[in-house]
Point group: C2
Chain length 266, copies 2
């Protein structure tokens, strides 16, 4: 099984393509170990660095992951959570049912993950900052306007799943429960929380992008090589007035689907 010298593709490409084909055909299944670098090197009669180059290619495609001392493995599909745009409507229940028996405590995050309240953890850090340009634009306030910044790292069953930083005009939330970290997590999430201030969110706008994570994001969210992140830039409006902006919500892309519904009134 030596490589084909007449093939215009370089050796590492041929080998990577061969391995990828084996994965696609099912000869190598998710979780399977690839032949070791030394075995592949002698099999194709090339140097180990050439094999390494082939495997690096597959790692950066998100198809393979390597573990030192153990081997290279076909990546397994991750359990996916669906993030539905309707999650914001669910939060309304906490507002509208005031006075009645409340639903089980939850937030947009617990609903997305289908996890119980106690399996949900938060790292939080609140601060007061002058509005950066991007946030000022979203909130429709002058640059430098005093804002409350709330940074969260969300964990589901002790696994980091999401980073977000959200901003509120300080004039709206200073001295209220929104500005007190001890109130987080708040049953019903921030829409319910804002409602206690008499601020009723009527519209949520989300802008979705994807990119490779920064090294810092990779470390915090424990993202393997070859996996991008989805980013959501969000703002919440109350009667047309922006009251919250999130810049950005960052989620590893191998574990999530974003569901949106667009109604076309006929």
């Amino acid at each position: 099984m030596p490589i084909n010298p007449t093939d215009p593709r370089p050796a590492y490409q041929q080998i990577a393509d061969d391995l990828r084909a084996q994965i696609d055909r099912g000869d190598l299944r998710p979780g399977d170990r690839l032949p070791s670098i030394r075995v592949l090197a002698s099999l194709h009669d090339v140097a180990q660095m050439t094999i390494r180059q082939a495997i690096t290619l597959l790692v950066n495609e998100g198809r393979v992951s390597t573990r030192q001392g153990r081997g290279a493995f076909v990546r397994e599909p991750q359990p996916v959570r669906r993030i539905a745009s309707s999650r914001y409507r669910t939060q309304l229940e906490y507002v509208q049912q005031a006075g009645k028996a409340p639903p089980a405590p939850g937030t947009a995050f617990t609903g997305d993950h289908q996890i119980a309240w106690h399996e949900y953890e938060l790292e939080k850090s609140f601060s007061r900052v002058p509005a950066p340009p991007v946030v000022a634009d979203l909130l429709e306030v002058p640059i430098g306007t005093p804002l409350l910044a709330r940074r969260f790292v969300f964990y589901a069953r002790s696994r980091p799943e999401q980073i977000s930083t959200s901003y509120y005009p300080l004039s709206l939330v200073e001295g209220t429960p929104v500005a007190d970290p001890n109130n987080e997590p708040w049953p019903g999430g921030n829409i319910a929380q804002l409602a206690t201030l008499g601020v009723h969110v009527t519209e949520v706008q989300e802008s979705v992008r994807a990119r490779m994570p920064t090294p810092e994001e990779r470390q915090i969210l424990q993202i393997p090589r070859g996996i991008p992140v989805l980013t959501i830039r969000r703002r919440m409006l109350a009667q047309g007035r922006p009251v919250e902006a999130a810049v950005d919500i960052v989620i590893p892309a191998d574990r999530v689907v974003l569901d949106y519904t667009i109604e076309l009134s006929s």
Copy 2:
């Protein structure tokens, strides 16, 4: 500027982190050429392969791109197009204004790109296929049900921007304009087209994911290393009945933002 042997990070990591910091600080700006591999190697007193490893890291983060014979360059931000969920409502104008003067011809795609009708090109290939499991599920038909499959590659100003394959129940569209490739592109897009059959789309559902592109997608869409793709799985419903499914729409993630609006009736 030799590397620090007491630093626990490997040499290629130190060098990559150093280059990344220079980019983040603005010492290296988008479009700038990095020092050549040979220069960096002698500067840090390491082998060229070590420098190469550092640069490969940055390439796979989407921060740097290399061009043979020319050098390694800091990647420039791409002009972004916004894809708004409201684009589907715009298409309704072509339906509702029947009989009146129609708006300028366009589709969801031309609107997204802000390009003129004549700057828009299509590669199309239509076929009849039995419903694969995923599509059958979306269309709520038995697996194997005869479907029309329409595969498109969209070009804006001769640049490939998007791949999509959409499916319709053949019983719904056989013998209609929908099944005739010569009708594409259709002014107003497929919502307007379906309306001519008396099928009025009332709801569109989209599921957004991100992943690294396959080699085939990288080739067709000319995607540089380190850039993920956004995928949209879509279906259109007419009075609650699925009439179209797209599996999947694939878009390079460095050139696009997906905008969604969620209305919360208060």
